[in-house]
Amino acid sequence: MTKVLDARGLNKSFGGVWALKDLSVDQAPGETLGMIGPNGSGKTTFINAVTGHLALDGGEVFLDGKTITGRKPHVIAQAGLIRTYQAVRVYAQLPVSENLRVAGLPHFRRLGFSDPLDGAEDLLVKLSLKEKTEAVAGSLTLFEQRRLELAMRLISRPKLIMLDEPVGGLNPGEIREMIQLLKGLRAECGLFVIEHTMKVIMELADRVVVLVSGEMIANGAPAAILQDANVIRQYLGAVRATSR
C-alpha cells in the first residue's frame, strides 16, 4: 500500500542550528496524522520543507509514491499536496467567490471540470458559507475565514491537506464545530494536522507524531502517546524551557 506521504531523513539547518534532524515521517492513505511539539520544535518548518517552501539540506519526500523533493510549492500543490498557514490567510480584499475562483483556476482543467467554480457551491453549503458568497473575505469572522481557507483547499480535490494549527484563535464552541467539520472531511482527502491543543489531536488523529527540537521522539496512537513517559519528560520539559 503506497503511503500518501513519505518523508525520509529530512535535514534542515538555519545557519548552523538544525531545525529538522534526520526526520522521517509517513502517512498511510485514509489515516489522519497529527503532529505535536513545543514551540520552535520544527513543526511549521516540516510543513514548509515538505511543501517546497523551504529548501532541504537533505532527505527526500514522496507523495503517493512519486517524488516531490525539491519541487516548487505550486507544482507540489498541483500534485495534490496543499497546506494552510498558522495565521489565517485569505484574499481579504476579494469576495469569497473570487477567493474560490482563484483557488480553483489552477486545477479545474486537470480535474476535468469545465469551470473553476465547479463544485464550489456544494463546498460553500457544506462549510456553511453559502450566504457569504459575495461578501468580501476580510469582513468574515475568523471562524468563517478558517472555513474559507478549507474551501479554497478542497476545491483542488487534494490528496492530502496539511493544516497548521487549524483551530488557532477559535473559541471552544468553534473548536468543537471545526473538529466535527474536519472529521467529516476524512473521507475526501488525507489530513495532516499540527496542533498545540491535545484535545483536538486526541479527537482527530488516528496516529500522533511528537516532534522535539527537530527530532521525532514518539509515534503512536494518541492515548499511548499521552502515557509515554519519554513524551511527558521531553515535551513538558521542552514546553517549560521555551515558555521561559
Partner: protein
C-alpha cells in the same frame, strides 16, 4: 448596463474625433498627441504596478530600448516603421525580461530598488553608445512613419494623421490591458499582488506569471517609445531617464492604480501640464515631485480609484441599512 456601454462607445468616438477637432492648432494638437502617448504608456505600466503590485522603475529605460531600436532600423536600414516598431517592442520586452527576471524573486522594496538601479544603468548605457543613440546630443529629425501606397509612393503619417494613429494605439492598448485583466492571467496577477505566498501555495506559479506580466508591460513600454521617437522627432537619454519612469508612475498612481480608467484620468489631467506651463517649465520638477508626495500620502488609490472606492462603500452601506430596515 446599456448606459455604460453607450458611454464607452461615446468615449471611443470622442478619442478618435479629437485629433480632427484640435487640428487647427499644432500646439494643442501636440498636447493631445502626447496625452495619447502617456495613456498608452501608463496603461502598460499599470499592468505591472496596479495589477501585479510591482513598481517598475526601469520602464522608461525599456521605452528607450524600443525607441532607439526602432529609430536605428528606420533611419539606418530603411526599414518601415510598421516593422521596426514591433521589433523595437520585442527588443524592449526581451531586455525587460532578461534584466527583470532575476530581480522578480525579490520582495517589495528590493525589487523597486533593483528597478532603479537598472534604469540608471540603462541611462548610462544610452549615453555611452553614441553610435546607436547619438549619446547626450541625441538623435534628431526622426521622420514620421510612412504608409506605403501602391505605385511606389508613400504617405507620411504626420500631423493630424499621426495623432489619429496615436489615438488608435492608445485605444488598442487600453483594450488589450482590459482583456488581460479579465483573463485568467489577470486574476492570477491580482492574487499575486494581494498575497504572493498564498497564491504560490494554492498552486499558481508566481514567478512565471510575473515574468509574463513583465513581458507584456515591457512590450507596451517599447511601443510607446517607438511612437514617441517618431512623433516628437527627437530622442536623447534624458527622454528615458528615471524621472520619466517616475512621471509615468505618477500618472498611474494619481489616476488610480489597478483600474482601467485610472491611467486615462491621470494622463488627461497630468500629461498636458508641462506644456501648458511653458514659462514655468523650470518648476516642472517641483510640481511633479509634489504630486508624487501628495499622491502617496493623500491619494493612494488615485483620483479615479478613490471615486470607485467611495461609490462601492456607499452602495454596500446603503445595502446594509436597507437589509437592517427590512
Amino acid at each position: 448596463m446599456a448606459y455604460r456601454r453607450a458611454a464607452l462607445v461615446g468615449l471611443v468616438i470622442l478619442a478618435l474625433a479629437l485629433p480632427f477637432l484640435f487640428s487647427a492648432s499644432r500646439f494643442y494638437a501636440f498636447i493631445l498627441g502626447v496625452t495619447y502617448l502617456y495613456i498608452l504608456w501608463s496603461s502598460g505600466m499599470n499592468l505591472l504596478s496596479g495589477f501585479t503590485g510591482l513598481m517598475p522603475l526601469m520602464y522608461a529605460g525599456l521605452a528607450g530600448v524600443g525607441a532607439y531600436t526602432t529609430v536605428n532600423l528606420v533611419m539606418k536600414f530603411g526599414v518601415s516603421f510598421w516593422l521596426a516598431m514591433p521589433a523595437g517592442a520585442l527588443a524592449a520586452a526581451l531586455v525587460g525580461v532578461v534584466l527583470g527576471l532575476p530581480s522578480l524573486r525579490l520582495r517589495g522594496f528590493y525589487f523597486t530598488l533593483s528597478g532603479l538601479v537598472i534604469q540608471t544603468a540603462l541611462t548610462m548605457l544610452f549615453v555611452y553608445i553614441p553610435q546607436f543613440t547619438g549619446g547626450d546630443t541625441g538623435i534628431s529629425q526622426i521622420p514620421p512613419p510612412l504608409i506605403s501606397l501602391p505605385g511606389d509612393r508613400s504617405f507620411p503619417l504626420a500631423g493630424v494623421w499621426l495623432e489619429e494613429a496615436l489615438a488608435v494605439a492608445a485605444l488598442l492598448t487600453v483594450y488589450v490591458v482590459h482583456r488581460v485583466t479579465q483573463s485568467t492571467l489577470g486574476k492570477y496577477l491580482v492574487a499575486i499582488r494581494e498575497d504572493d505566498l498564498l497564491t504560490e501555495a494554492l498552486g499558481i506559479g508566481v514567478t512565471r506569471y510575473r515574468v509574463l506580466a513583465f513581458f507584456i508591460s515591457s512590450l507596451f513600454a517599447g511601443v510607446g517609445g517607438a511612437f514617441y521617437a517618431h512623433y516628437v522627432g527627437f530622442v536623447s537619454p534624458r527622454s528615458f531617464d528615471v524621472l520619466t519612469s517616475l512621471n509615468i508612475w505618477l500618472i498611474v498612481g494619481f489616476g488610480g492604480q489597478g483600474t482601467i480608467l485610472g491611467p486615462i484620468v491621470g494622463a488627461v489631467i497630468l500629461a498636458p501640464i508641462p506644456y501648458l506651463m511653458q514659462e514655468f517649465y523650470l518648476y516642472k520638477d517641483i510640481v511633479y515631485g509634489s504630486l508624487i508626495v501628495f499622491t502617496t500620502i493623500f491619494l493612494p488609490r488615485g483620483v479615479y480609484g478613490s471615486l470607485l472606492f467611495h461609490r462601492r462603500t456607499r452602495t454596500s452601506a446603503r445595502g446594509k441599512s436597507e437589509a437592517a430596515r427590512s
